[in-house]
């Protein structure tokens, strides 16, 4: 196992120490329980927005704490949902008197831990709403699965909802906006390699040199299908097809196109993915009005990519364009 780490069990705490040293102007780091909170929290009169998840997806979520995005993020162990005490303390730390929104990626652990935290926060008198993110079209949402995973759309949703809170939206309004975004965004991912969880010491799964996994998530688990490696243009066709036909997206739709690097894929390749995804959108009469290209929601060093589309309207675009000042995303300030 080749990683730039010390002891596996210290990775998360040491990373948090690094974040605290790097961004004292933007965030404060709280230990035991662990959470990252914007330096000026709580922002009085503003709805607080928190999220959280396993570590290993950096910059998500901790890198998105700051003005215009998340008020706080709770990092669990690598690939492990954080615990209710983390979200409870974070909720209290960002409570500006207008309630707190929990952005929850749809994984069994995330949902349960956030639920328990929300109950505890409400018991302490804080109004809490939750938005579930389940944009992954690789998984069928049915009685036969744990539901669709929350993946790439999470980044876009956190940006837009964060801007809405910054603009003074009420708790009910940000929750509705979040659910609307979730209903209009879809993602599909693929991987060329797995990744190695520090304490596991080896890759979560092995992929032969000439094969790829289609329909992967962000936790290093295998995907839906293993196939022979193809040129990137064909891979992008394979990813875009289920994305386009799910809602479906239609000619005339305006979208944000988010091409994500999973951590081990270089930026040069991400631009090749974007090129073809953009072409497919155009061919279908879908107008790409904004884009994001880079490693924003990663799976340690997994080589691969995910593509996210979000159908937007004027309001969502205005919020997307609004200033944001976080370690992982910054514009307008």
């Amino acid at each position: 196992m080749k990683k730039l780490i010390n002891k596996p069990e210290d990775v998360v705490v040491e990373e948090l120490q690094g974040i605290a040293l790097a961004h004292p102007d933007l965030v404060k780091v709280h230990f035991d329980p662990n959470y990252i909170v914007r330096a000026d929290a709580p922002v009085k009169g503003k709805v607080g927005i928190i999220s959280g998840g396993g570590s290993g997806h950096e910059p998500m979520h901790g890198g998105f704490v700051g003005k215009g995005m998340l008020d706080a993020a709770c990092p669990g162990a690598v690939f492990t949902s954080p615990t209710p005490d983390q979200m409870l303390e974070a909720t209290k730390a960002v409570d500006g008197g207008k309630g707190v929104l929990h952005i929850v990626k749809n994984y069994t652990g995330d949902v349960m831990n956030f639920e328990m935290a929300a109950d505890l926060a409400r018991a302490e008198g804080i109004e809490v709403e939750s938005v579930l993110v389940d944009d992954d079209v690789a998984v069928q949402d049915s009685l036969w699965t744990a539901g669709r995973r929350g993946v790439g759309l999470t980044v876009v949703l956190e940006k837009i909802v964060g801007a809405a809170a910054e603009a003074g939206y009420s708790l009910k309004e940000v929750a509705e906006l979040g659910r609307k975004i979730n209903s209009l965004g879809r993602t599909m991912g693929m991987a060329l390699t797995s990744c190695t969880v520090p304490h596991a010491g080896k890759p979560t799964f092995d992929l032969p040199e000439d094969e790829m996994e289609i329909g992967i998530g962000i936790h290093g688990e295998p995907g839906r299908k293993r196939m022979k490696l193809q040129p990137v243009d064909e891979i992008v066709e394979m990813l875009m097809e289920p994305i386009l036909k799910d809602i479906p997206y239609k000619a005339g739709d305006e979208v944000i196109l988010f091409v994500n690097g999973l951590g081990g894929t270089p930026l040069i390749e991400q631009y090749l993915v974007f090129r073809k995804a953009h072409e497919i959108c155009e061919k279908n009469g879908i107008k790409v009005v904004r884009n994001l290209i880079g490693p924003y929601i990663t799976s340690l060093e997994m080589a691969g990519t995910s593509i996210t589309l979000l159908k937007v309207d004027e309001e969502m675009l205005k919020l997307w364009d609004a200033p944001v000042l976080t370690p992982g995303l910054r514009w307008g300030i």
Binding site: G54, A77, P82, T83, M112, T145, A200, E221
Partner: protein
């Protein structure tokens, strides 16, 4: 024929070691159909329980269960954390105030614990989860109580049922949890949560059978 408070503590201590010894094995299982963290999560949580044990030495059995559950809740994380926390907290409610328990109490506690997991995780038998080990164990315990068998015999039957249930997860296609994302590909692999639950019950049998009459 009773399980004393000290035997409950002995069980926990033994299980903490079992988890430490099986950390990599559980990680292996959770790599095939998951994200390779179940072993580390359980180990972290139960090491935290170990650190809390000196403070439990004078507590009643229900309190021990409850504190164990609370500790797991804030240390394990993932799907396993809230589910195992619920297990111990619900069992603890049934065992509140007791300094020793009979087979019947253990059956009630395990039934409440398992119901708590079902309540939170919404899994059914056959979904390829810890329920596939726990549910048959509960049935075997209830049956044992109805037949008035000895503690040892009841523990043996429930452990056997849990083991069979754990192994029965192998061919199943997962319908809950992370393994369900793999669809058909989850078949052919034993469920990690069912495995750790079996180990929990097996350790109970080993600890309590030795010291029971």
């Amino acid at each position: 024929m009773a399980i004393t408070r000290d035997q409950v503590l002995a069980w926990l201590k033994a299980f903490i070691q079992v988890i430490a010894d099986n950390k990599d094995y559980l990680t292996e299982l959770d790599s095939a159909i998951g994200d390779a963290d179940h072993g580390a999560n359980m180990h972290r949580g139960f090491q935290a329980v170990l650190a809390k044990m000196p403070g439990m030495e004078d507590a009643d059995i229900g309190t021990i269960f409850k504190q164990t559950g609370m500790t797991l809740l804030s240390t394990v994380g993932g799907a396993g954390g809230p589910l195992y926390a619920t297990f111990f907290i619900q069992a603890g409610s049934k065992l509140a105030g007791k300094m020793e328990i009979e087979l019947e109490d253990w059956a009630d506690a395990l039934e409440a614990a398992t119901a708590g997991i079902v309540n939170r995780g919404k899994a059914s038998l056959g979904d390829k989860t810890m329920i596939d080990a726990l549910s048959p164990a509960v049935d075997a315990l209830k049956q044992s109580v109805a037949e008035k068998v000895s503690l040892s015999e009841g523990l043996k039957r429930s452990t056997t049922a849990a083991e069979e249930g754990m192994k029965a997860t192998i061919p199943l296609v997962a319908r809950k949890g992370r393994a369900s994302y793999l669809g058909e590909r989850s078949a052919g692999h034993q469920d990690p949560g069912a495995t750790s639950s079996f180990l929990l019950l097996e350790t109970a049998m080993k600890t309590w059978s030795n010291s029971s009459k």
